[in-house]
């Protein structure tokens, strides 16, 4: 079962690299933000899978939980910042 988890983690890592195209070349800041959001979600899953691969689920699950909270807060704050940037409030 460890090999299966490793294969799934590698597949999701390849998907992260594909999503990085939108972050690097995406026209404008909004497409880049969408790419950052999707990469953060995939990173949560990769962290949980790494915990299952190395048999340290108790530690990595906590890291994944904190990462989920931070990802949410970061996207909200950046969206709010760029709204105020355009002058409407």
């Amino acid at each position: 079962m460890g090999d299966f988890f490793l294969a799934i983690a590698v597949i999701i890592g390849i998907l992260v690299i594909l999503s990085l195209y939108r972050v690097v070349y995406g026209p404008g800041v909004w497409n880049r933000l969408a790419g950052v959001n999707i990469i953060g979600t995939k990173t949560i899953v990769i962290l949980a899978l790494v915990g299952f691969i190395f048999d340290r689920v108790d530690m990595f699950v906590d890291i994944a939980l904190i990462y989920a909270m931070l990802n949410f807060v970061v996207v909200l704050i950046i969206a709010r910042y760029y709204t105020k940037e355009e002058g409407e409030g």
Binding site: M1, F4, I8, I11, I12, L15, L18, S19, Y21, R22, G28, W30, N31, L33, A34, G35, N37, I38, T41, K42, I44, V45, A48, L49, F52, V57, D58, V61, D62, A64, L65, A68, M69, N71, F72, V75, L76, A79, R80, Y82, T83, E85, E86, E88
Partner: protein
């Protein structure tokens, strides 16, 4: 039995992640890309975490994974909605098919 159920759930979640990434890369506009990633990513993460919970069995770690699922069920649609609302307020025009009336 739980073994196969975990494999099926994790494979379905990975397939949904793949569909969301293809939508992010191929769709023509920011709003349509949000439409792709807002649903596919949330449901994919829920299915993957449910598969890991089935594999883990009933323990404290499974409860923590359930906490991640509940947090993502609230947080990810909220983040997508906030992004779309901020883009509307910043006057980003939605994509129009060529030849359609503005």
């Amino acid at each position: 039995m739980a073994f196969f159920l975990a494999i099926i759930l994790i494979s379905l979640g990975t397939a949904l992640f793949f569909v969301g990434t293809v939508g992010l890369l191929r769709l023509p506009d920011f709003y349509t890309r949000l439409h792709a990633i807002g649903k596919c990513d949330t449901l994919g993460l829920i299915l993957l975490m449910l598969g890991l919970m089935v594999y883990e069995g009933f323990s404290l770690n499974a409860v923590k994974l359930l906490m991640i699922v509940v947090l993502i069920m609230i947080a990810n649609p909220t983040a997508t909605h906030a992004l779309a609302r901020a883009a509307i307020k910043a006057k980003l025009q939605p994509w129009q098919k060529e030849g359609s009336v503005q």
